[in-house]
């Protein structure tokens, strides 16, 4: 039995899940109706639905970020800006007309995703081929991306008035679950299957732990890193399309603003090392949901806007501190000392 418990507590996912549960439990105490889910107009309605709905974009970004971190031991800080680029391309190509899109819907979305992939290719080229540090390389699109999005939109907010554009960001007719959740699940599942049933997952880990050793055993390290950045670009594109569909517009200044930080935080909260190598997709997903749960709960608890960042910071500091290896060491030392004392006393 104790072995079983030890196995659970040692698992990488243990602490992230505990953190998420803690946030949720705290909510029940403060807001008794937090878990209440009702049906409104044939769709599910409640705080919990809000959390998984609103977390979808972040989950998708975190997936892309996880593979990038794992392969290159660096972060892609351009994901928010790339999401804005994709959103701008989609809204620009679909056009503001109420009756019909300028190009078919799928073409518009594909163009947007292609934009995301192109950004990923650029980042991947800089990191994998030019060997520029990931943060420096992606800093280029971090600053230039929003400029590109602004250029596409000509500095305006483009509203897509045709009502089915909203479906991706809200509910499909007759489906009680929000569409973004399905997209997020699909992305997670495809990524998981791809890493699990091909050698890619192992390659990424190998390259992340030691890219030179990887190359010596015959893995094309720079190609693996290049591919992960492209995938991250694609994920940013998907998440940008959802963000823009939610508001049926492209607000180049604000779409995906500061999401890169949340995405990195999600990866870290999931117990993944930002130093590359071993990674857990599930951890990042839980991390992303925890971040959104925190935001939604602070709204539900009616924390005023000026105090919001402080509470967020406190919780994040606690969660990250619990997971740090130094803290674990300190804690187990404390436990051991206590045990010795207890022994001595007896």
């Amino acid at each position: 039995m104790s072995k079983f418990i030890q196995k659970i507590t040692r698992s990488q996912l243990f602490l992230p899940i505990v953190a998420l549960i803690l946030v949720l439990v705290f909510n029940v105490i403060k807001t008794p109706t937090f878990f209440k889910i009702t049906i409104m107009n044939g769709t599910l309605y409640g705080f919990i639905i809000d959390i998984i709905n609103r977390a979808s974009e972040l989950v998708i970004l975190a997936i892309g970020m996880t593979v990038v971190v794992a392969s290159s031991a660096g972060t892609d800080i351009s994901v928010g800006a790339v999401a804005a680029v994709s959103a701008a391309i989609i809204c620009y190509s679909l056009g503001p007309s109420q009756e019909a899109y300028q190009v078919p819907y799928l073409v518009g979305i594909s163009l947007g995703l292609l934009g995301g992939v192109l950004c990923g290719i650029w980042n991947g080229f800089l990191v994998a081929k030019m060997k520029i540090q990931p943060m420096v390389a992606t800093l280029i699109l971090y600053t230039a991306g929003r400029g590109i999005a602004q250029l596409i939109c000509a500095g305006q907010i483009i509203h897509v008035e045709k009502t089915d554009y909203r479906l991706l960001g809200s509910f499909l007719p007759g489906v009680p679950f929000p569409t973004p959740v399905f997209v997020a699940i699909l992305v997670v599942f495809i990524t998981w299957a791809m890493l699990r049933y091909t050698a890619l997952g192992m390659y990424i880990q190998a390259v992340g732990i030691n890219s030179k050793a990887g190359r010596l055993v015959g893995i094309n390290s720079s190609m693996i890193i290049f591919l992960t950045y492209i995938y991250c670009g694609l994920c940013s594109g998907i998440s940008g399309s959802i963000m823009s569909s939610r508001i049926a517009a492209c607000d180049a200044n604000n779409i995906g603003l500061n999401y890169e930080l949340d995405a990195i935080l999600a990866v870290a909260l999931g117990g993944n090392s930002l130093g590359g190598g071993k990674f857990s997709l599930a951890g990042s997903v839980i991390g992303a949901i925890t971040i959104q749960a925190l935001t939604t709960s602070l709204y539900a608890m009616q924390v005023t806007a000026d105090q919001l960042p402080i509470y967020k910071a406190i919780v994040v500091v606690i969660i990250v501190a619990i997971q740090s290896s130094e803290f674990k060491k300190w804690f187990s030392n404390l436990k051991r000392k206590h045990a010795i004392k207890a022994e001595a006393a007896s």
């Binding site: 409104m40 309605y45 500095g155 305006q156 907010i157 508001i247 200044n253 779409i255 709204y299 005023t304």
Partner: protein, 321 residues
């Protein structure tokens, strides 16, 4: 002969240069350090300056787009000083950090006029005038409009529950509007401010915050959104909760762009309180007064209206932004 020709050329060049400076001196040169293109409101503000400060009106406008960065604005002001413009207009991105560069402008004897946002400087004489919206008054406008609307609908004796979607915390629009709204709500015992939260002036955040307001409170009567975008987001959240914005819940928003007028006419938005971006004419007026040697008021508010279903359809065709 050769010498004569080269001398002639020199004289001609000088003459033409002189002629150019004379013709340029007739125009008043104005350097405008704009924030950037962040929203429809900002674009309208830029357009207002470009259409006012034309050569026909006797001005030469040097326009600088700072792309939301203060250091670019400081650079722009230094350039204006080097180019010896007659006036500098600044739409400050942030409130602080302007002492040095405005001091340089003052030393060069170039008057500075501020547009839109205010700045915090220890020495008031660093700028001659500020032109912008009266955010506090805009706050009052919303509540006063609500008084009238409820009276017309015979609801003046009901208890009214209000939620407030604030702008980015600390921005002058958020501070002024929140203060104005809260001040008047405090005198009205029938009005209850259930909650306030920032939607960061964006549609996405406005929607997210409104979603949680709707789950926390069953009986919201009024939403006040401190800009139009957050108002649009709130509308979506209200629709998703099975209510009708504009009917079940009274919607109030700020800024009054074209789109807001369309929403008012469609009945989804009850009122939009104007934040007038057309500062150009007022700034031109100030400059003309200064040129004539008159003194000007330090703080100058632009005229701002309140638009609901009664006057929206009439104003809409004249809205350019």
């Amino acid at each position: 002969m050769k010498k004569f020709v080269s001398m002639l050329v020199c004289v001609l060049i000088f003459a033409s240069l002189f002629a150019m400076t004379v013709s340029a001196a007739d125009l008043i040169t104005v350097g405008y350090a704009q924030i950037g293109a962040e929203s429809d409101w900002r674009t309208a503000n830029t357009e207002s300056f470009k259409s006012t400060f034309t050569e026909e009106n006797g001005f030469k406008l040097i326009f600088d787009d700072a792309q939301q960065k203060q250091e670019n604005q400081i650079k722009a002001i230094r350039n204006f000083i080097q180019q010896e413009v007659d006036y500098i207009v600044l739409a400050p991105i942030v409130e602080t950090g302007w002492e040095t560069v405005l001091g340089e402008a003052k030393e060069a004897g170039i008057p500075v006029i501020l547009s839109d946002r205010q700045i915090k400087v220890t020495d008031d004489s660093l700028y001659v005038a500020w032109v912008g919206g009266n955010f506090l008054q805009e706050g009052y406008n919303a509540v006063e409009w609500l008084d009238g609307y409820l009276k017309e609908n015979g609801r003046e004796n009901e208890d009214i529950n209000i939620v407030l979607l604030q702008g980015t915390i600390g921005s002058s629009a958020q501070v002024g509007r929140t203060e104005g709204v809260e001040k008047l709500l405090a005198d009205r015992p029938k009005y209850h401010l259930l909650a306030k939260q920032t939607g960061e002036f964006t549609q996405a955040k406005g929607q997210e915050v409104m979603e949680s307001f709707l789950k926390s409170y069953d009986d919201i009567d009024v939403v006040i959104a401190e800009n139009d975008d957050m108002g649009y987001g709130a509308m979506e959240a209200i629709k998703a909760a099975g209510k009708v914005p504009g009917k079940d819940i009274i919607m109030i928003s700020y800024d009054s762009g074209r789109r807001a007028f369309e929403k008012v006419i469609a009945g989804e938005l009850n009122v939009t309180v104007e934040c007038n971006p057309l500062h150009g004419p007022r700034v031109a007026e100030i400059i003309k007064k200064l040129e004539a040697g008159e003194t000007v008021d330090k703080i100058q508010y632009v005229d701002e209206g309140v638009f609901d279903i009664k006057n929206a359809a009439e104003i809409l065709p004249t809205r350019t932004y």
